[in-house]
């Protein structure tokens, strides 16, 4: 196994493109190293991207946010500005593992690991985040919901990697929220989760995005749930309609972490609670 730590994105792309065996990008390593230790993968090449200066930058502005692929999750919560602009994204990233894990792990790693239960992914999708993809043929920009195809599978070509995710400009009275259900208080994996991003005008929801995690092979965007909220002040009828839409959108599995029935039910509970939190954060009052 070769281990490389290039200092430019170009060098990283070249390394990935010229490897004929199994190559893996290494960000925080909190997924990759665990899988290697378990013997689940045996890479021929590891490209550590943490030495690439541009990937270690976190730019935060109302006009847009850029989170470099080597920025550990802990840095998101250290930015007060980011916490104010995107509280849901930050709280999702800060649910990953524990303090120790967050000192290493990245949201891009979380995305590329392509777990249906990844915490930051529903929040990024709700936020309308885009991934900046680098490859031998140059760069492209793709919506985060287009990155994950299924458990452990992404739409990235084998010689591509993600440089950063960007969040759009924040306008008006907007806020997001993320909630997950886990049996333990931390060091656990979402049984189901919900991310909601709202923009209000005079207390009325103008736009909304509702995303569920761990209820299908990938995070699920639920337009019908968003529609149920738009035009409302989050009255019970609107919330009930949203909950029903969420439950209808669930396509979970029965496994050691939860049953189909349980996941479906609790997806609605998480969505309702997250909606109320986002609404309040955006300045709505009930």
């Amino acid at each position: 196994m070769r281990f490389e730590s290039p200092t430019t994105t170009k060098a990283a792309a070249t390394l990935l493109a010229s490897e004929s065996g199994i190559a893996h990008v290494l960000a925080g390593g909190t997924d990759l190293l665990v899988r290697m230790k378990m013997g689940a993968i045996e890479p021929d090449l590891i490209v550590d991207i943490k030495r690439i200066e541009s990937l270690r930058t976190l730019k935060v502005a109302a006009a847009g946010v850029q989170i470099g692929a080597a920025v550990p999750a802990v840095r998101l919560s250290e930015s007060e500005k980011l916490r104010n602009l995107w509280p849901g994204v930050v709280e999702a990233a800060n649910l990953i593992g524990s303090d120790q894990i967050q000192g290493r792990c990245t949201v891009v790693g979380n995305l590329c690991n392509a777990s249906p239960a990844a915490d930051s992914v529903p929040a990024l999708i709700a936020a309308g985040a885009k991934a900046l993809v680098v490859g031998p043929k140059g760069k492209r920009r793709v919506a985060v919901e287009k990155v994950v195809l299924g458990p452990g599978r992404t739409s990235l070509a084998r010689d591509e990697f993600i440089e950063a995710v960007v969040l759009p400009a924040r306008t008006g009275k907007s806020a997001d929220a993320y909630l997950r259900f886990t049996p333990r208080t931390e060091m656990d994996i979402a049984v189901v989760s919900a991310a909601i991003n709202l923009t209000l005008s005079r207390g009325i929801v103008q736009s909304a995005k509702v995303v569920l995690g761990a209820v299908a092979p990938t995070a699920v965007v639920v337009p019908a749930a968003a529609k149920a909220l738009i035009g409302s002040k989050l009255d019970d009828a609107a919330l009930d309609k949203m909950v029903a839409a969420c439950r209808a959108a669930c396509n979970p599995i029965d496994d050691k972490r939860g049953t189909i029935e349980y996941r479906t039910k609790v997806a609605g509970v998480m969505a309702r609670r997250a909606a109320l939190i986002a609404y309040e954060r955006a300045g709505g009052s009930k």
Binding site: P183, R184, T185, D188, T259, Y262
Partner: protein, 753 residues
């Protein structure tokens, strides 16, 4: 010379203080050496190949490719372990569990092993071993396993404990019955009868340190084993029997231990590591992965229990009965027997009967887990006790007090109790400030009692006094929870010297006589007793040396406050001789000064606890939060209160995990699905409240200081205390542990329908 074991109400100056533990600095700095921390020149890496099937015939194992891989020094299969058990079925079970003999009995059962120059080579070699399996029907559920037509695990098993002796094979290895009186007559007198069935899922002790050892065994039949274990003497004896060695030629050293809770009382890979070393003629280090720990060491039983209790309107229980089915994994155990013995031990009952069935299934061999089998029985019985109190309109604590066992009660498992603490722990619960806390919405409170026997056993201890007066105490029980601090306090108390003057060493098997395994809460009880006696033995020598120095008869010498004093007016001119002074002169007065003791520490006092807890349940998700938890337990005498409290808290913490989330999850294919700490959920810090403790001291009459074991009882009540609290919070009786969020939500929704 035998010393008096009876309790004497002596005063203490050292015992009962909260000194720092001597191993603390080593443990926080990383200097302490655990199972995987020993290395030897030229050591090989040992790895085990395990069955992916729940039950399968091994029709062929081809190891030729693995043997040819450069760097591989030894490959073993069941054939490399000749049967030296002499017809001892128990030993054969141990051997067969260490390495399959023609049949894989559970997912994770060892089928082959390799030793190679490094981990990569060893892992490659495992992949080159070709095992041909013929899958057999399997069963993993305890109730399914006793149904007619269930796959039979061992065709040689006939149910023991039934007459006439059965002639056909069964998965019920043993039936055991306890009790007295006439249960039917008692139930006929009852005004109210509650009958209910309960299930508990299988849990693992969850010690953080995996099993690890470094084994060396030469062609001359002598060897050494460095290992994380609760019983290095037992490991030595068992390994010697299985491998045909002389006991004295195998030196076993116990490393520091990162948790055991019963799981490190049995050998798992150690005989394999020794045999690999013998074959390769090099030291072999074998460290289990977490996955292996879950799949192939000894968790506790999953159970299925029916309880029926009847009582008069006045709150007096007239009869109680239980049927307890415990699975013991793929080999016979005695776990249902312990469940049957402990189930009603807290109560004074005229008519009582409990029947246990030990059941074989295709799961790993069950091992002890802290008060083994008692928590599940207590869950069932204490739940019904709670329901009965509610039905009678009585306070659940008052109802228990009214029926509690006391001195003179004939225990349901046979003996008549001496002075015991169940009543006092219940009184303490009733008067505890915790009881006055107001419960909010979706909150509930639960109380439960628990009992455990405790064990004494064979013990051997040495105490050597250095020329500078420092004292080395060597014991053969493993320090699983602060016992070195407690034992040093005891030695200091007896000798009348400073605690810091005593250093406690856990001796290897070649430096002491046999010591039983550190189990049954015996460490401080039994080694404490042997330490008292070894110190008194040393004091006898110290007095002789002083007498010789003074040239007076030894009868005129007394030992007080760490010095020899000459009694009688004729000796007024003789100034006292301190331990330090006598030690300094020892080279010229007869040589080194030592004390020694070997004892079978009988009379371990039974132990009782009562727990209470408050919970809040989220009615929409079924998630439970423990708001407050209090443990009240009788310690007999708390030698070091911190470590007694630590045991109380640790047992409660493990019990909380078991009650709420921990469980072995098997798929339909009989494979364990959650062999890791991500999906086998032991609680993390933020899941637990501060666990409050109250120590009661009702002296054990059979120990000079009144000590009772304290390590295990604390895990007995939590399942029931939490079960009662959750049931009270949601208004539905919970009957299945763990009470995970899906189970609670399901119970709430089902009750609504």
């Amino acid at each position: 010379m035998p010393y008096e074991t009876d309790y004497t109400n002596q005063g203490f100056t050292k015992v009962g203080t909260r000194v720092n533990r001597p191993d603390g600095v080593d443990k926080v700095t990383g200097r302490a050496k655990y199972g995987a921390d020993a290395n030897a020149a030229g050591q090989l890496v040992g790895r085990v190949l395990r069955s992916p099937h729940a039950h399968a015939l091994i029709t062929k194992i081809d190891t030729s490719k693995a043997e040819k891989l450069p760097g591989v020094k030894a490959v073993l299969t069941g054939k490399d372990f000749p049967d030296l058990t002499g017809g001892n079925r128990g030993l054969m079970d141990i051997l067969e569990n260490c390495m399959a003999r023609g049949r894989a009995l559970y997912d994770g059962h060892a089928v082959a092993a390799v030793a190679a120059i490094d981990a990569d080579t060893a892992n490659k070699a495992l992949k080159l071993i070709k095992v041909t399996y013929k899958q057999l029907a399997h069963v993993t559920d305890v109730d399914e396993a006793i149904k007619p037509g269930a796959p039979i695990i061992h065709d040689w098993v006939r149910t023991a404990g039934v007459t006439p002796a059965p002639t056909t094979a069964s998965n019920v290895a043993q039936r055991s019955e306890f009790g007295h009186g006439d249960v039917d007559a008692g139930l006929a007198q009852a005004d109210v009868i509650i009958e209910k069935s309960f299930k508990t899922e299988q849990t693992h002790q969850g010690y953080i340190e995996p099993h690890a050892c470094l084994a060396t065994l030469g062609p001359d039949g002598s060897g050494e084993l460095w290992v994380t274990t609760q019983g290095h003497f037992t490991f030595r004896n068992v390994c010697a029997s299985l491998l045909g060695l002389e006991v004295a030629k195998l030196k076993v050293t116990s490393s520091e231990i990162g948790g055991g809770f019963g799981g490190k009382t049995h050998v798992w890979t150690e005989p394999v590591a020794l045999q690999l070393s013998r074959k390769a003629n090099r030291p072999v280090k074998l460290v289990m992965s977490r996955d292996e720990v879950f799949r192939a060491t000894g968790p506790t039983s999953s159970t299925s229990v029916d309880v029926k209790i009847g009582a008069k309107r006045n709150g007096k229980i007239t009869a109680a009965t239980a049927e307890l089915r415990y699975q013991s994994g793929a080999f016979p155990g005695m776990w249902a027997m312990f469940g049957a013995m402990t189930s009603f031990a807290c109560y004074d009952l005229k008519n009582v009967k409990s029947v246990g069935f030990d059941v074989l299934v295709n799961r790993p061999k069950v091992a002890a887990y802290r008060a083994p089998s008692a928590p599940m029985a207590a869950f069932a019985v204490e739940s019904v006790v709670d329901m009965l109190a509610a039905e009678l309109g009585m306070d659940a604590v008052d109802f228990r007090i009214k029926n509690a066992a006391k001195k003179g009660t004939k225990a349901s498992y046979g003996p008549v109790y001496g002075p015991i603490g169940i009543g006092p722990t219940l009184d303490a619960v009733k008067n505890h400030p915790h009881m006055k806390r107001k419960l909010g919405k979706n909150q509930g409170r639960g109380v439960a009692c628990g009992f455990w026997f405790n064990f004494g056993g064979q013990t051997c201890t040495d105490l050597n006094i250095g020329v500078d007066g420092s004292v080395n105490l060597t014991v053969g029980t493993v320090d699983v929870g602060g016992s070195r601090a407690s034992l040093a306090l005891i030695a200091a108390e007896e000798l009348g010297i400073d605690y810091e003057q005593v250093r406690v060493t856990i001796g290897d098997t070649n430096s002491l006589g046999h010591n039983d395994t550190t189990e049954g809460s015996r460490g401080t009880f039994s080694s404490g007793m042997a330490t008292i006696f070894a110190a008194r033995n040393a004091v006898d020598v110290l007095k002789q040396r002083a007498a010789a120095t003074w040239d007076i008869p030894v009868e005129q010498v007394i030992w007080e406050a760490g010095e020899a004093r000459a009694k009688g007016r004729q000796n007024n001119n003789l100034p006292p001789l301190s331990l330090k002074e006598i030690a300094a002169k020892s080279p010229r007065t007869g040589g080194p000064i030592a004390g020694h003791n070997e004892v079978v520490a009988d009379g371990a006092g039974v132990s009782f606890a009562s727990h209470m807890c408050d919970v809040e349940v989220d009615p929409e998700t079924g998630a439970t939060k423990i708001l407050r938890y209090t443990v009240v337990q009788d310690a007999g005498k708390a030698i070091h209160p911190d470590y007694v409290e630590g045991q109380f808290q640790g047992g409660a913490a493990q019990g909380i995990g078991w009650a709420l989330n921990e469980e072995y999850i098997y798929g339909d294919d009989g494979r364990l699905q959650n062999a890791g700490f991500l999906d086998y959920r032991i609680p993390v810090c933020s899941d637990l409240p501060f666990i409050d403790t109250q120590i009661l001291e009702i002296p054990n009459p059979n120990h000079p200081y009144g000590v009772r074991g304290v390590g295990e009882t604390s895990i007995v009540p939590p399942l029931a205390a939490i079960g009662n609290a959750v049931s009270n919070a949601v208004g539905v009786r919970m009957t299945h542990v763990p009470m995970s969020p899906p189970r609670i939500l399901n119970a709430i929704e089902t009750a609504k329908e």
